[in-house]
Symmetry: C2
Subunit: 599 residues, 2 copies
């Protein structure tokens, strides 16, 4: 049994059948070449690479982890060599601009590949994620000269990248940062300060590392209005990319974490490091937000990966483990006991994971499709429409899917009982690795405030209304279909309620802003359940059409419809708990004095 097997059939279902990526790519400037055959071949190759080259490194990466010394950070056994092979095969440039050596494929193809990479080893994948975010920021804000200096080497996989934001006293609240940049006579800056929690801040996987650092230029305004972005290379280089002097940036230590041991989380010391301004001065925070949507999609996708990995392992176990008899009588009387998959509650745990993995796949792949449009489309209206939808959906995807991904990983562990708690099976690693996803790139609480505050109240509900219109149109178009009418009727009820809840919160918050915070996480979770219901209903419609048209894969499509039914009957109703608590007001949270929480 492989450690991880890319769920290729489901990926193809989502890409080709549910989201109709072939037509999407055909209509997208520069993506005409992304034919079904090409995308199939990419998926198959990535599946092979991740199953054979990356997944086998994952358990060792957890056990051995990264090792810090004065000389630098040693990544886990095999990471350097496998990343080199990954680079030689051209994977780091998959979605990068051909001008800098990339293959120019759509973001959504990169997203599909990234799901396989992060499912096979999150620690390994974090390096790709860090590089991707750095490249994206450079692409958006670097001068042509800066682009030529840094991007080709990174696209080639020879150099790595990082995003250096957090300081020990400035996490969510970046306006508090203290890292300083002093202008120098040559137009560069001398940058000093200490950053923490820097993913892959130092490592041995590439010969150079390009740090993007946020700092305050001497004399700039306090708070978020005085933040600028800088490029700080580990080694300075000449115009030909030849490495020169070592810059004054070093890794002081690495964190000892609950999980994600394969990725060094670094304290980075900048001691008068040579730094180059990236983008306009004092607009650093705005510049950074350009890559936030992608980064949050990347983390949402981690939730999908964690659910998928846990699902695969716990499903294998549940089919194999013989223990007790079915409640309805022995199913395998010739064996000493029945496999535990006969038990309804084991099935509940498995199907929950399946719904999150497959539902989250539909959701995140659709977000990636929207990002394609924003990146490539020449139709400003289409771009604006996608931008609106994305603004609404990104915090939902990030927070809901990471929470559900972690819960799914925990359900997988539960399916294995005591065996799940020991390291041997790898399911507990998945739980530990998945835990950070609910925190980084903005915690669940921060996403929830972003959703209700900026994205809903900030647009007077327009974005939510637009999205629920899309769902309602889908429901109307399919309500006569007996296979899905149960789903469309539930969905319609929920879209109506969703708007009402937003109105209620907005009304209460106008009088007392704490009401927004008090309702926020329940509202976000509610939203997540409704969005996933929309995708599951769509999956059922597609599956029904395939069955109507005749297919050799009846079992596959029938299971899709049964899984949608499970989702609508067993997961969507969890909204009832959130509705019941959401509007109980802020009083029950705020009336206790901070000094009276404990005696």
């Amino acid at each position: 049994m492989p450690l991880y097997q890319a769920p290729q059939r489901d990926m193809k279902f989502v890409m080709d059948e549910l989201l109709d990526m072939p037509s999407h790519y055909a209509s997208l400037p520069g993506c005409e070449d992304a034919s079904v055959e090409i995308v199939d071949a990419i998926r198959e190759e990535a599946a092979k690479f991740t199953t054979n080259m990356v997944a086998p490194l994952n358990q060792g990466a957890d056990e051995i982890g990264c090792i810090w010394s004065e000389e630098g950070v040693k990544t886990p056994p095999g990471f350097k060599e496998s990343y080199q092979q990954f680079s030689e095969a051209g994977w780091p440039g998959l979605i990068q601009d051909p001008e800098f050596g990339g293959q120019g494929l759509p973001i959504s193809v990169g997203n599909m590949v990234h799901e396989m990479v992060l499912s096979s080893s999150l620690g390994w994948a974090m390096f790709c994620g860090a590089n991707g975010g750095t490249l994206e920021t450079l692409e958006a804000w670097a001068t042509p000269e800066q682009k030529n200096t840094y991007m080709p080497k990174m696209v080639e996989g020879k150099w790595g990248g990082t995003m250096c934001l957090t300081e020990s006293h400035a996490g969510t609240d970046l306006g508090l940062l203290r890292t300083k940049a002093e202008p120098q006579d040559d137009g560069s800056y001398s940058l000093s300060g200490t950053k923490i929690f820097i993913t892959h801040g130092e490592h041995d996987q590439t010969e150079n590392i390009i740090h993007i650092v946020i700092a305050r230029i001497a004399g700039a305004p306090a708070g978020t209005k005085g933040i600028s972005l800088f490029i700080v290379p580990k080694f300075l280089s000449d115009a030909n990319g030849e490495l020169g002097e070592r810059n004054a940036v070093s890794c002081g230590s690495i964190e000892h974490k609950m999980g994600l041991h394969g990725s060094p989380t670094c304290v980075m010391n900048f001691d008068g490091a040579k730094a180059f301004l990236l983008g306009p001065a004092n607009k650093g925070l705005q510049c950074m937000f350009t890559f936030m949507n992608n980064a949050r999609l990347g983390v949402a996708l981690q939730g999908v990966g964690h659910a998928e990995v846990g699902f695969q392992k716990s499903l294998d176990y549940a089919k194999d483990r013989l223990q007790m008899r079915a409640l309805t009588g022995a199913k395998n009387p010739e064996l000493m006991a029945d496999p535990i998959i006969v038990h309804p509650d084991v099935r509940r745990m498995l199907l929950t994971q399946k719904c999150i993995a497959e539902g989250g796949r539909m959701f995140t792949y659709d977000i990636a499709k929207m990002l394609d449009v924003i990146q490539r489309s020449e139709d400003p209206e289409a771009k604006a429409e996608m931008d609106d939808a994305l603004g609404l959906l990104t915090p939902i995807a990030k927070a809901f899917l990471t929470e559900q991904g972690h819960d799914s990983a925990n359900l997988a562990l539960q399916c294995l009982g005591g065996h799940g708690y020991i390291k041997e099976w790898g399911v507990e690693q998945n739980v530990r690795d998945s835990r950070i996803a609910c925190i980084y790139e903005g915690t669940t609480g921060i996403q929830a405030l972003d959703l209700i505050g900026r994205k809903i109240m900030g647009t007077k509900g327009a974005r939510l209304t637009n999205f629920t219109k899309t769902i309602n149109a889908f429901c109307e178009a399919n309500q006569e279909n007996p296979v899905v009418s149960e789903f469309t009727s539930e969905l319609t009820k929920h879209t109506k309620e969703w708007g009402e809840l937003a109105m209620q919160i907005g009304g209460a918050a106008a009088k007392n802003p704490d009401e927004m915070g008090a309702a926020s996480v329940d509202f976000l979770m509610y939203s997540g359940y409704v969005v996933l219901a929309y995708y599951w209903a769509r999956a059922a419609v597609v599956a029904d059409k395939a069955l109507q048209a005749g297919t050799t894969e009846e079992d596959f499509y029938k299971t899709k419809i049964s899984t949608a039914k499970f989702y609508f009957q067993r997961l969507l109703p969890k909204t009832r708990g959130h509705v019941a608590t959401m509007n109980t007001g802020a009083d029950n949270l705020m009336e206790i004095n901070a000094d009276h929480f404990a005696f």
Copy 2:
């Protein structure tokens, strides 16, 4: 800031004010000495010992763990020495029979002390738990001679004990066990087999270890009807307790676990070990159940401890960490930012933990009070009544409080954001340590089947009816009190619904047994929310009385009422989600063929 501080004020509230232990002890044969002064002194001493001697070992125990070698298992630094001090102070004998050197105090006093021990270090506490379970089994089933041989040394803390049940293919399903016992001419048995997951199966904390092992006597019936209990000492001893020959039992390896590194989880090999029958032959499973209620209470208490520890750490952090401003405007304009406890969602996370820790404390301490009655009372009716209530409440306490304890530990981590994910703060250790509690001594799924199947349907609902009558009587007595009428009216609605749900499930299960499994975990969680609501309502009544009577501790009592309000408004309504999914039937779980879960 200490690593752990026993919540003494709350413990005293629960013991003296809520449960009126002073009158309870006064009426209990042999417990007349357990005065308020004595119990206060015990609590204070235990608080000192755990805070000063045990809690400081906890992080090292996690990092260094236990080390296996051919010679045996070395426990973490300080464990042996501190257990020796614990023994010298008489703690292992606190609730043991004076006949064997114990102090004969009630179970409920031991329970209070055990909360402090396990909160300060679960790994350390597991050793006490294993010894306690062994002693209890010996007390119930050993011959006078066996008792005299083993119990005094264990009570003194010189010898340890274990319960050896699980085999690699026989976890929940003990009837599958293969360990064999061959009768010998001298009346002893020769026992052979391999047990796994044995807590503290081998260690260096005591000079001898007494294993209680379940095995099948040669020729005994297959399944659960052929299981017997045996005593297998590590070292055989003479009548004076002098150690002799080493028995043929050895530790083959220890597990590498997600957490709980302070407690060795052993593979134990019995190779023709000398074994002594304990209790009647072929009744081993029934004999074992005598200690199951206590063991499950012990694990439920772990949930309380995990919630308490996480609450303490995350509360400290939330009051200290400055980040962002309150939604309603700066609360500390003179500082760079406000402490994060100003945010409603941070308060939601803190108060949830507080409700589980304090609510779980009321619930588990009340169960311990019932165990006192069963152990000591001379009134058979009172004993039978408590036994009934305990049968109903034990699976609820075990499963609900461990699930909530783990969720609380996770909320604590979330309050710390990225800092929670690194080992330094100890909150991630609490998450990892807490995870096993949902599994051992019967998983959440197993407790849920026990509750709905044996405890409710098996008594035709009588036990549930008796308990809801108690709750309803409390509600009637207090419904006119404006401070709690909101609570009693919610509780009354829930007790009615609770019975209806049980009836519905029973009715459906009569036609299809899978309906019971399909509803079981939702039903258990529902039950847990209602039971905790009952205790929170009682706490509010007690607090209100104290306020009415006049007190110097107004803040303490007012906070109790506010926390009850939070519970009723923000946690109890989670029952709505469980009600909505519970009765959607077994079809959505059972209709997918096991081979079609993944393609």
